[in-house]
Symmetry: C2
Subunit: 315 residues, 2 copies
Amino acid sequence: MSTQKSTRFVQICEEGPREGFQSEPPGISTADKVALIEALAETGLQEINCCSFVNPQQVPQMADAEAVITQIRKRAKVKYTGLWLNQKGFERAQATPVDLKPTLVTSASETFGMRNTKQTRKQMLEGQRTLAQAYKSAGLNTAAGYVFTAFGCNYEGEISPEKVLGSISDLLTLGQETGMAYEAMYLCDTIGTASPHKLQTVIDAIKMRWPDLELALHLHDTRGTGLTNAYVGLQMGIRRFDASVGGLGGCPFAGNKAAAGNICTEDLVYLCLLEGYETGIDLDKLIASSLLAERIVGRKLPGKIKEVRLPSFST
Amino acid sequence: MSTQKSTRFVQICEEGPREGFQSEPPGISTADKVALIEALAETGLQEINCCSFVNPQQVPQMADAEAVITQIRKRAKVKYTGLWLNQKGFERAQATPVDLKPTLVTSASETFGMRNTKQTRKQMLEGQRTLAQAYKSAGLNTAAGYVFTAFGCNYEGEISPEKVLGSISDLLTLGQETGMAYEAMYLCDTIGTASPHKLQTVIDAIKMRWPDLELALHLHDTRGTGLTNAYVGLQMGIRRFDASVGGLGGCPFAGNKAAAGNICTEDLVYLCLLEGYETGIDLDKLIASSLLAERIVGRKLPGKIKEVRLPSFST
């Protein structure tokens, strides 16, 4: 995937409109969602996760998924992706102008998987097999893999690197059996307990076994260590991150603690700038988008760089 | 200083009651300040900066310095320190039960020094000479050195490592001439523009020239990189940090942008726990202090770990 790009190029997928708004109380208008997505698309972001094709009874925040993805005025070279969890959701997505990004997921923690999907890891994997076959039927041959709870679980506690290796192995085997390749394997710090040394241990173990597998990080800043973990990831060669504009996701004033947000996109972009990584993103425009996101949700978002002027000197 | 302690022991000086409250609008009661300081002293923190002996006309927030330091019920093994900028302030401090922590300061940026003290670096240094002599007269032979704007200046922009070396050299020479030793040299990221690679460059340069000089970091989280910078400092062997409970300091709702807070004490303690450093601090009690600080200032503070329960598993 990234062979044509500089090894200092960092790909960021914007999760604010999807994961961020999904954590907010219902009621954000379709027009506001579209406005934020269109603003984000002006920043140089190459991928924006726009909506979820999930059960509107369970996730009313995403009930307007079709309307959102249809109303966006698309820019060239930007992928407007969406999320689904099963074949029904994938079929809904296929009926829209969404940029299809096939995903195949598993959970390193069996308990987390059971609590969230009411399926064992094995059952979950069978569901993914059905999805993989649907992808193939739709002419899609490449997926992004996601390993949830790769750095800890609120039910099981510590997650051993062996469980993460096992999860990746399951997805890779599934890919081989169904003819799906992976563009990247996302390690998700679902509950925000990753630490620098856990990241190092897990990434080292994966690199030892699959040196050519492209890894990506989906980090949450639940405990203040999100950007530090991203820094460690960058140092270890990770060049793909999910992030959320303003740190959108999880409202500290609604007691929605479990859903604390992804790392803040513009703070990540600023860190990349500081450390000499390219993102292709215009930080000023991204900060403007973050301020728009704040106006939409009606509260301060946790991102920091938006609160101050950029230093006027080169970093 | 730290030779009797584990090399994994990290010393944290709490700046909330001093630097934090100094950034808040005036009006915090003496009783609230004392309550916070007493709560912080229960956490295992070994040093708490309690007040500033500065001009009450210019800094009304600290006008009750004497009252605060007198009313605290002191615990053994905790240093209750205060700040002063000149001999008059030092004399005020000496008349109180404050634990005297002599400081000798300079600014790597001449312009920053001029704007803040109306003195050239040379004039500032002469003022410090007067202070050093006053320390000696008071029987105090050891100071903490502070280099302001060590990683960037809002007026001068980039600060070269050479300027930082020059600043340290000035302070060391002053120490030799006046018979003052240094317990540590604090590098201050006064405006919050430090980055991992700047820290590495500056610390490397200092270590090359003065391998035995104990360095400390006074970091601000103005741009979201504060804890990442602390992590890099820890990795480079820094074992002393200033920090502020809850990230107190700089009120985002008052437009007080220049004064964005120090790194958050409890988030730093959590990072230390994660990475296997000792602090001697009870994180639960520290979080309770942070929640008290929030009640006192009447708004959410930016620290993260206080928003969530600790993971129930060993980190």
